[in-house]
């Protein structure tokens, strides 16, 4: 019996990483209803608001948990029984126990997505939380229209499912989770694997595996750091009339449809279909351009995230995508563009170069970088 218990214990330990590897945070085992919701808008006799790491608490489902206990305190009850007016920001803005995704990074690493902007923040560019402005490139004529109907407000959950999911970063156009239909959901939600090595079978690989530990800021880089995120270019999906080789682009295209062009025949008004009217995303191989830089752009190329065919970024096989040029959340450059440096690995989310470096990494005309 004793041996059995030991074996059982070992099995349980072995199973934990496997379980974790399949889940995003806020999903399955890490989806804590009480992180965001309160049943009665009152607890502990309206204790003062505490934002941040609480002491270890006993999870009613067993075990202990570190949770940012956000107690309501005299606040009016919120819709959906939420614990605050902005429960996402309560953990994800300027906190050390959870990824900081608003503005500059408090936790000191180069994030893959950068930081979103808030109203009034005129530095740089990116998605502005709370904006009612329709997305650039919004295509009201697209098959999937009405996603951002007049009066809509951009929120975190516009892109990330608050209840999690299996897609990369819980991505999913949450507000249209029903309207999109099951046939289309799978086309716009990037698949992910959390493996030690690049997985060509999913849109995204998190190279750091599932070593993310909640509340351990030094560990965030493994999961959210730029260098541990690799995009694949062999996941051909057609949606809204455009073919891309990575669902990240299709996801962006839900809102930015008119900016989206997988090939020269997509969204083109050129009769013979030979010339781009949108910059192509994900289907065109960088090295197929008539002339590309070799040595001069090697470092700049390495500072950008292309959609790769193999575990090593290679211009002869890899393609540009939305996230090659833009930070998904934002940064301090216009339009959340990345200006790659040419001399060393970029240590900022903006990049160490100038804007032309971005274009000239692939397009060599016009002299040296």
């Amino acid at each position: 019996m004793k041996k059995f218990l030991v074996v059982l214990g070992l099995l349980a330990l072995a199973a934990m990483p496997a379980l974790a590897a399949t889940d995003n945070y806020h999903y399955n085992t890490t989806m804590k209803c009480s992180d965001c919701h309160s049943m009665h808008a009152s607890a502990h006799e309206n204790l003062p608001v505490v934002v941040g790491m609480g002491a270890e608490i006993t999870d009613p489902n067993g075990g202990t948990d570190k949770s940012p206990m956000y107690f309501p305190s005299g606040l009016a009850p919120q819709h959906y029984l939420l614990k605050g007016t902005d429960v996402c920001a309560s953990c994800h803005k300027n906190q050390t126990f959870a990824p900081d995704v608003v503005g500059d990074n408090l936790n000191g690493y180069v994030r893959s997505a950068g930081g979103v902007k808030e109203a009034g923040d005129t530095t740089g560019g990116g998605h502005v939380i709370g904006t009612t402005t329709r997305p650039p490139g919004y295509d009201a004529t697209a098959a999937i229209n009405g996603y951002f109907a007049a009066g809509s407000v951009l929120e975190c959950y516009s892109c990330h499912s608050p209840h999690g999911g299996t897609a990369f970063r819980n991505l999913g156009p949450y507000q249209m989770r029903s309207a999109l239909g099951s046939a289309n959901v799978g086309k716009v939600q990037p698949t992910v694997s959390k493996a030690a090595a690049f997985n060509t079978a999913t849109d995204v690989t998190i190279l750091g595996g599932d070593t993310y530990n909640f509340g351990t800021p030094a560990n965030f880089v493994n999961y959210y750091g730029r260098d541990n995120i690799v995009y694949a270019n062999n996941q051909a999906v057609t949606f809204n009339g455009t073919t891309s080789t990575n669902r990240m682009d299709q996801f962006c295209g839900v809102c930015h449809g008119a900016f989206h062009g997988g090939s020269e025949t997509d969204n083109t008004t050129v009769a013979d279909g030979t010339a781009f009217v949108r910059h192509p995303t994900s289907t065109k191989v960088v090295g197929a351009l008539p002339t590309t830089y070799a040595a001069a752009a090697t470092q700049a190329f390495a500072n950008l995230k292309v959609y790769q065919a193999t575990g090593t970024a290679t211009s002869t096989t890899d393609s540009p995508g939305c996230l090659t040029c833009h930070k998904a959340h934002g940064n301090n450059n216009p339009f959340a563009l990345i200006y790659p440096g040419t001399l060393a690995k970029d240590t900022t989310e903006e990049g160490a170069g100038v804007y032309k470096n971005l274009c000239k990494t692939c397009h060599s005309m016009g002299g040296t970088m």
Binding site: R134, P136, G137, A258, F259, N267, T269, V270, T274, A275, F276, V277, R278, H279, P290, T291, Y293, A294, A296, C325, Y355, K356, C359, K360, H363, S364, M365, G366, G367, T368
Partner: protein, 322 residues
């Protein structure tokens, strides 16, 4: 052979690739340049070579507007044709254009700045407003076929006089829109038919800074060093001895030209090659195509330059006392 000529010729072997598209242009030119200098000076001449390169590199690597630091991608291209819900095309047309251009065609795009609307850009459509006479002259405003200028956007391909390749000319036929290291961003082979590329070298007293066309694109600012006639010949064919006026030929010592007349002319001197110095008139001056013709066009037949502004004879008589 003067060092400068050797270097320019060395750079001129840079194949028929579009220089603006070929980053190896500079690298190859530089490499050949280096080997050439080593050969000229011997293994112990490093210091001399270094000093020579400092002085000589300027015309070779100078580049023009729309190249290097002044090449601004977004001047001409947009990625998504929208910013703040407003089309990015400079003519405000909503439909995106081919090659992500900010105008419907490359020609429209060039002329959106170079037809007088932008005071900071040299105007190439008559009447030129930024200066009384530009170095290259101007195209007629009517865009109609003319014997007085290169014919832009002809209805059908036209074989240039003296040439063999039928072409429909537009700005980008001759000028690389992404710039290169040639004078005025001239394409080394404007025919793009695989001819050996030609390097055109000049010395400019004032270079473009984005707001000084009246100081840059005028005759007095430019001393042509080499390559002009050879470049014209890529389309127009080389002059035939005995049939055509001698070309790239020294005025000094010429049988039928009078250097004394040339050097003492009180009229503005027509452009010439001055390979060995930056002085015109001087004994190294050589008559070239644009000694008689404006590159873009003029108000006169065959785009002729009238040295006195009124008569063709005044041009002839700068060299010929007949």
């Amino acid at each position: 052979m003067p060092a400068s000529r050797f270097l320019y010729r060395t750079a001129g072997v840079t194949s028929d690739t579009r220089a603006g598209d070929c980053p190896s242009f500079a690298a190859r030119g530089g490499s050949l340049l280096w080997h050439g200098l080593i050969q000229m000076t011997g293994p112990h001449g490093f210091v001399k070579v270094f000093v020579a390169m400092i002085f000589i590199a300027a015309p070779l690597f100078a580049g023009e507007w729309h190249y290097g630091a002044s090449m601004v991608c977004s001047d001409c291209h947009t990625q998504h044709n929208s910013s703040g819900g407003v089309p990015m095309r400079t003519d405000s047309v909503a439909a995106p254009a081919a090659m992500l251009l900010r105008r419907g065609t490359a020609q429209e795009l060039c002329l959106s700045c170079h037809a007088g609307a932008n005071a900071s850009a040299p105007d190439v459509i008559a009447p030129v407003t930024y200066v009384s006479e530009s170095a290259a002259g101007a195209f007629p405003a009517s865009h109609e076929p003319s014997s007085m200028a290169h014919d832009l956007l002809s209805a059908t391909p036209v074989i240039p006089p003296g040439g063999t390749v039928a072409m429909v000319l537009q700005c980008t036929t001759c000028h690389d829109p992404h710039g290169n290291q040639n004078y005025r961003n001239l394409r080394p082979d404007p025919t793009r038919s695989g001819l050996p590329g030609v390097t055109v070298v000049s010395h400019q007293g004032v270079t473009a800074n984005g707001s000084n066309p009246a100081q840059v694109y005028v005759r007095d600012n430019v001393i042509y060093k080499s390559g002009v006639s050879a470049w014209c010949a890529t389309c127009h064919g080389a002059p035939v001895p005995g049939s055509d006026h001698p070309d790239d030929t020294a005025i000094w010592g010429a049988t039928l030209a009078d250097y004394t007349l040339w050097s003492s002319s009180t009229l503005p001197h027509v452009p010439v090659h001055s390979p060995s110095d930056n002085v015109v008139p001087s004994v190294d001056d050589r008559v070239i195509c644009i000694s008689c013709h404006k590159a873009h066009g003029s108000d006169h037949p065959a785009a002729m330059i009238y040295a006195d502004g009124e008569t063709m004879e005044s041009t002839c008589q700068e060299c010929h006392g007949l």
